[in-house]
């Protein structure tokens, strides 16, 4: 994590042609949100640390040869940012398409149908069909926990569960195993979730999960609504502690 800046200044920058002011410890994403500009994102969730991994929030910054993720890029004086154009739209659509092609996302049989971040992103980014070859590996569902189920076939590897468990609950039950397309989220070095020694069964991972990969036992199709109300409070609490 970038170290906290103690002496923050106020700077002026341009987002989508509009001049805005911001503190130097703010990210482009935060400033855009203040201005009512929504930048699509998946791994970013307010209240958890940012990793810049999903690449949905990449924006163009004038003078920078590369696209930069809005969630981790801090603002600076005179910065000129473009958050939406045809090129970024096409990239975002392909990223969402990649997620749909990577595993098994069949909305009609999913517990999260209608309340799913991935589904919403597909609508937002204008993805209408999957044109890439499906990779769709067949992965085993872990229903060993008494209250929750993990279905890796619906996982998008956003690592929200890993971060909430580590940063908020402090248990660090979740982590990543393997690499590339073979990487998976695991509990306790690969033990079944139900046998985990560290899991406190708090369920925060389930609530932050963007898809139906983590859900409560007993819910049926479209019944799994996630309750994320706790995160803003925790975020405020952390900021006060800073």
């Amino acid at each position: 994590m970038p170290e906290t800046l103690t002496n923050t200044e106020v700077v002026t920058l341009t987002i989508n042609g509009q001049e805005v002011s911001a503190r130097t410890d703010e990210t482009i994403m935060e400033v855009a949100e203040e201005q009512g500009i929504r930048i699509p994102a998946l791994c970013h969730i307010s209240g958890l640390s940012d990793v810049g991994a999903c690449r949905l929030c990449v924006v163009e910054i004038q003078g920078s040869p590369r696209l930069q993720p809005a969630c981790v890029t801090r603002v600076s004086e005179g910065m000129t940012v473009t958050t939406h154009n045809d090129r970024l739209k096409a990239h975002r659509r392909t990223i969402v398409e990649m997620l749909f092609a990577e595993r098994n996302h069949v909305c009609s049989v999913c517990v999260s149908n209608g309340h799913c971040d991935l589904q919403n992103l597909a609508v937002e980014c204008g993805m209408q069909e999957v044109t890439l070859p499906y990779l769709a590996p067949s992965l085993q569902v872990d229903a060993s926990h008494k209250r929750f189920v993990m279905d890796p076939n619906r996982c998008v590897m956003c690592t929200r569960c890993v971060r909430v468990c580590d940063e908020i609950e402090g248990a660090h039950t979740w982590d990543i195993m393997g690499r590339g397309v073979d990487s998976r989220v695991i509990t306790d070095l690969g033990k079944p979730w139900g046998e985990s020694d560290t899991c406190t069964s708090c369920g925060k991972c389930v609530q932050v999960c963007p898809t139906g990969a983590l859900f409560e036992k007993g819910v049926s199709v479209a019944e799994m609504t996630k309750r994320r109300q706790f995160l803003p409070y925790l975020k405020t609490m952390r900021e006060v502690q800073k």
């Binding site: 970038p2 170290e3 990793v51 810049g52 991994a53 999903c54 690449r55 949905l56 990449v58 590369r66 696209l67 930069q68 993720p69 981790v72 890029t73 096409a90 990239h91 392909t94 990223i95 990649m98 997620l99 092609a101 990577e102 044109t131 890439l132 070859p133 990779l135 998008v156 590897m157 982590d175 990543i176 393997g178 690499r179 590339g180 397309v181 073979d182 990487s183």
Partner: protein, 551 residues
Amino acid sequence: MNLEELESTAAHERELCAGQKCRLRVCTGTGCASAGSDRLTQALRERAKERGMEGEVTVTEVGCLGLCAEGPLVKVDATDTLYQNVAPNLADNVLDSLTGEAAGITICNEKQPFFARQNRVVLENAGHIESDRIESYIARDGYRALLHVLAEMSPADVVAAITQSGLRGRGGAGYPTGLKWSTVAKANGPRKFVVCNGDEGDPGAFMDRSVMEDDPHRVLEGMAIAAYAVGASHGYIYVRAEYPRAIKRLKTAISRAERQGLLGSSIAGTSFSFSIDLRVGAGAFVCGEETALIASVQGNRGTPRPRPPYPAMSGLWGCPTLINNVETLGSIAPIIRCGAPWYAEIGTEKSHGTKVFCLTGAIKNTGLIEVPMGITLREIVFDIGGGIPNGGKFKAVQTGGPSGGCIPEQYLDMPVDYESLREVGSIMGSGGMIVMDETSCMVDVARFFMEFCMSESCGKCIPCRVGTAEMYKLLTRIATGAATMNDLSKLEELCSMVRETSLCGLGQSAPNPVVSTLRYFRDEYLAHVQERVCPAGVCPMTARKGVATHA
């Protein structure tokens, strides 16, 4: 050890070598070692003993003599002859040659372009010194640059000298080394670190391995000078676990240097202290990326993070960290010793100095070479490399490993420097050069590198994780004759998307092998897709003609 002691050690070692009547230098680089040079050394020693030549013949194990294709190599100093292909059972023939005519062993012509066209700076000691003996390095002016820097130069002088030399990062991207040093030198932090990146993972590249195995003290000296210049007191060498010989030799070198007071606290009696630790990788290519390397050194999962902040500002444990490649650090001592203007004069206007390349593939003289920047590819492949064996026809040369591209025949006369290579869609990379003849299929080559990137992607960001797998799948369709023109255009779309949106250099450059082969060998792709034939006869093309199956 101060300068006087250093000089007396050097003089003593030189006397020792001069006193040896007949010195045999056996190459124990990994290439020759796999051809049996370890057994040859043993045989030479045993036979010399049995024949009562013990007193006169000294068998020394040295680093890479260069021409790996003809190994094991043995250099006889007394007669100034290099022998090639010396199998362990030819030990007697070598000993015979000392007293009379050489029979049964082949003399290697050292006047051939392979040797004559090289300009050895980083490899100046390879093949001359015994890597486990620090005295051997000192006798060839080792640690002189470090002591000179400590006694005569301020840290700012050192940074200025490196800047003036025009040295650029030898790890691939060619970032100006002087600029990097001065950034770290100026950065604020409670501590600073110097890291040597020895995580050489490109298929077909073994330059860094040779430097670490054959001349480990050169790396330590370069790191110590860097540490003095930027104000660091601790350093790490990150070596991949696949290099056990390099790890062993570096460990020995660190302990020897510490014992001599050339590393550790109060080096050469000055107030400068610098210690080095070794970190061994766990088999991940992505750990060559600097932020992933930092995570790995800290004991975390080796995944990159977005930059900025750059490691020069916030690296190991949030402190300013200088990360340089092995070859870059290996160039430091000669630059200080011979002067920055001398180094700046070698090479081209924008790429100064020399570069080590590994010649592999369809080429006669497989091996390790060091040439001045600006030399043409034709000179490397046909003069130094000896051309294509068995009357084959040159097709392309692949530089830069999985991040690079294939350069076709029409660019053979292009000078080799950072800018020219980038212009034709490849990169300098760490220095692997794979020469390909007409028997190579470019689709197959692209597919090989994509498979490499797919299995080495860390999986953190979506474009690299899924993109490489999708591109590999599309390339497999093409290689099996199951692809449509739609698949080909999808592949091209993915190339530009993955390049623009991936988090780190691995993903950003993963499409390069595909893009460059598509640029120069599009016909071959079209033959695979439209006619369903592989012109080189390499690809399996198992799908039935005319039937587009969806794999």
